[in-house]
Amino acid sequence: MRLIIPLAITFTSGMIMILNFFIPHQPFALLGDNLQEWYMIVASGAIFLGAANLLHVHFRKIRLKLKNWKYSPVTIVGFLVMIILGLFYGVTENLPFDYLFMNMVAPMGATMFSLLAFFVASAAFRAFRASNWRATLLLTSAFLVMLGQVPIGAMIWDKIPLAKVWLMAIPNTAGQRAVMIGAAMGVVATSLRMIFGIERSYLGGAD
């Protein structure tokens, strides 16, 4: 019983979007336009939910003195500093909020992902084995792409970049397309299941 209203909302929202696609005239145009604008507002609610959950998790860690609890105040202080500066100064360039973003958040984000370069090199050294002919084919394809993408490849042999262009345009496109079509069928099936209320896992856990 408690699921009937959410499922009805899911069905109605889904059908409005589908009908809006095929019948872009009134009243479906108005319904679709409003739903699309409302979607943005409600999706923002998810961002606030994420922030509230972050604070809840870290306050709980401090209260119960869980593992690494001494770092939780750092997260909370960082969050509050950005909130206070943002509310006071706004998001305009060169003011404190934007300054902290460009000089702290941006470098930290870039650095976190750049760590992967080291781990990918280490993993490639330890685990990438040409143990059968298919793995060798994968390795050869990877080497061709890696050489073709950089100027050194053309210096070694001027046909390497051409071979890379062909490899990306033909066999890579073929393989990626097969995956893409299969995934698209999966999305269609799952979306239909969600709209008709067969798939309900997204509603679980909130009792």
Binding site: I41, A51, F79, A110, S114, L138, A183, L192
Partner: protein, 217 residues
Amino acid sequence: MNWEIVGIWLGAIVTLLLYSFLYRDNPFYKFAEHLFVGMSAGYWVIYSIFNVLIPNWWQNMFPPDGGFNWIWVIPGLFAMFMLARMVPKIAGLSRLALGMIVGTGAGLNMLTFFQSNALAQVKGTIFSVATGGVWSVFSSLVLVVGVVSGLVYFFFSKAHTGFTGKTANLGITILMVAFGASFGYTIMARLSLLIGRCTFLLEDWLPTIPRLLGIGG
């Protein structure tokens, strides 16, 4: 106070704190990691307020030239229902908001994925035009055979034996080439990020040290 140099030093310090993880996990890394999580979350919230909630909700509900559009209470209410998930007694209200989000997304994605990622791709395969010459014809054949055999590999309703099995095997071969290309590009992507950080440290940060020490011109 030269805020530009202060900014460069802030960036360099947090970069080096995070890179200390490469030696081993340590308190400096944990400090920087937790700081990043908190500041990023704060950033997202502020941007949602200034770029979405105020112009697209508040100013629609209370237009600058006066009045009140009651209809905009509905999305505001649904956004608050999302937050209800934090309160166990009223957490069920969040299902209403989730229903709207999921329904809208599912309705839209169903059609657009089918149109763009299925129909258009099938059409592109059928009409992969050989512009002339043996190589062009060969390439088109590889494309068509590759897509079909790749799809056969993902078709699990029939056992991969006999002709189906041979086609699926060919499909795996094409997929291996595609995954090799993905691996090569992934390596490139990760290295590019490292190059960006090293460039910052070597070309932006290091030159500030002699300036601060009063060395050099």
